[in-house]
Point group: C2
Chain length 318, copies 2
């Protein structure tokens, strides 16, 4: 039996064919073309699914189900994307559209939730059943897994952990409408902003030297870590503050939900223990009454595959 | 069949005998005497349980189980209080002690979790299965109910929602060790502090006039609400800010967990819609991208009985 997982992004549709041991054995991708009607976008998606099956020489009968991870809010059991501003989808019955072309079960789910499920099924959190996967990327996303299932909340919108306010007074404006959201301090975007601010004051920093062409606009998260690894104090200071921001939101989540594991995903997870060790230290310092931290904090291991694998197995975990 | 619920506080032990329709039909209380050994405290608790059964003329055979709500962290299935600084209990096997005197099942649970369970079983959240009960009292406590069961997290410590930091920089020192915890802004204690600060600047406020003997040290939460109801602007301003603090933490919880209902409990719940209406308005203003708020915010209805009723039914919901 095979499982089709789809990562429906604002720019690209990626389709992966996953086997029973959670390996992506074939994949294909194409442009989303989100300016088009949902019928056209989803027809293309179905064609990509067919193409990946053809590549492996299998048919509909060999497919357990198709799972689709999408930005926005979805009702997985009904196969409907309720809203997605990235895609201009409003109450789109994805199942119905896909089944015009492929006769199999179709599920849809928020993409961050899919990535979280992937890490729990076969990634960093394999074997854990009470997990929060925190995606530190352009924004801060998340997925909460309780007893091996995605916690969607009562209206499919749970897991928006990046939109917890950690700076009530004078906080930075967030795209969600609130001020002071964690995302504004702990995302990769935030780290880059913090690094640029530091470089403006300390142009001698290795951060600038390591940025492509030595230009401030080319600073990215990796450059900041690389600069710190050379012993650059400006970079180290930026990162220490950044770790504390991450630790603040993580401790909030631990005090509320006390998962057995928190997985840090997104582009930042490539830093592995350079990220998780200092963050763990700061979370420990914040623990209630100095009690010892029981939640394990670790880096994601599946990278971009997490979303596709999680989506592929949606139909088995509902 | 009857259910015994115990509220084991730092000062008083309250025991209630609850019938199958969730009514406390007999109750009794006695001093905790927490300076004594746990064996002595728990022997007294067992005697109170026996006394309340005698009052109703029933025996051990008529009792389903004894449930005990306690401050601190408990392992419900094992009947052990793992730690409770209020009681100086450290890994105390409560079940073992009680069963020296009464032969029935014994369960223990954090007291805020018991109160939350009570409100879900037969209070404000009856019929809801995804609920957060927020206790606004001396501190801010909470209990999270998912699918009708207490969410204890992986190590029995979940639900410490008062210890989410909402003021990362320059926040008020919290007893838990962190700075800027929600509890420091949204508890009844915090409201009283905020009112006192306002009165220091505006001694003409009705807040002071309504406080017992017109003394600033006698300001309590009710006085602030009463002053606002007379049209006092100082009191209204204090409350508006206070509502926003409450709304900040509630919105964080909604973005993370999206419960179907949030119940506001503790002493503050007596204000009912004077509390829940403005808080709901401010939460709505904070909703992601202006989406409409689906979570219902309501006041607790069981008052102090919630903890005893929730404890009494622990054995039926594990």
């Amino acid at each position: 039996m095979y499982y089709l997982g789809v990562d429906l992004g604002g720019t690209t549709i990626k389709v992966g064919l996953v086997n029973e041991t959670y390996q992506i054995i074939q994949s294909i991708s194409g442009p989303t073309g989100r300016e088009r009607s949902f019928e056209e976008v989803l027809k293309d998606m179905a064609m990509l699914c067919k193409a990946v099956m053809d590549k492996e020489g299998i048919t509909e009968e060999d497919i357990h189900s198709i799972g689709i991870g999408s930005p926005g809010i979805a009702s997985p059991n009904e196969g409907v994307i309720l809203s997605s501003s990235n895609l201009n989808f409003d109450h789109v019955n994805v199942r119905h559209e896909i089944q015009k072309y492929i006769h199999t079960d179709v599920y849809v789910e928020n993409d961050a939730n899919c990535a979280a499920l992937g890490e729990v099924i076969c990634g960093a959190a394999k074997g854990e059943d009470n997990v929060i996967v925190v995606t530190l990327g352009t924004g801060v996303g998340g997925g909460i897994i309780a007893n091996g299932k995605i916690n969607r909340g009562s209206f499919f919108g749970a897991g928006e952990i990046g939109h917890q306010v950690i700076s009530f007074e004078g906080g930075l404006q967030c795209g969600c409408g609130r001020k002071g959201c964690w995302e504004q301090y702990a995302s990769a975007t935030a780290l880059i902003r913090q690094a640029k601010e530091a470089v403006a004051k300390h142009p001698e920093s290795q951060i600038l030297a390591l940025a492509k062409d030595g230009k401030i606009e080319n600073i990215n998260a990796k450059v900041v870590f690389d600069a710190a690894k050379t012993g650059d104090k400006v970079a180290s200071d930026v990162l220490e503050t950044y770790y504390k921001y991450i630790a603040c939101g993580l401790t909030n989540l631990i005090n509320t939900l006390e998962p057995s594991m928190i997985v840090l995903g997104g582009g930042m997870s490539a830093q592995k223990e350079y990220l998780t060790n200092p963050v763990t230290k700061y979370v420990q310092e914040e623990m209630y009454g100095g009690l010892s931290l029981k939640t394990k904090i670790t880096a994601a291991t599946l990278g971009n595959d997490a979303g596709i694998i999680g989506a592929a197995f949606l139909g088995t975990t509902l």
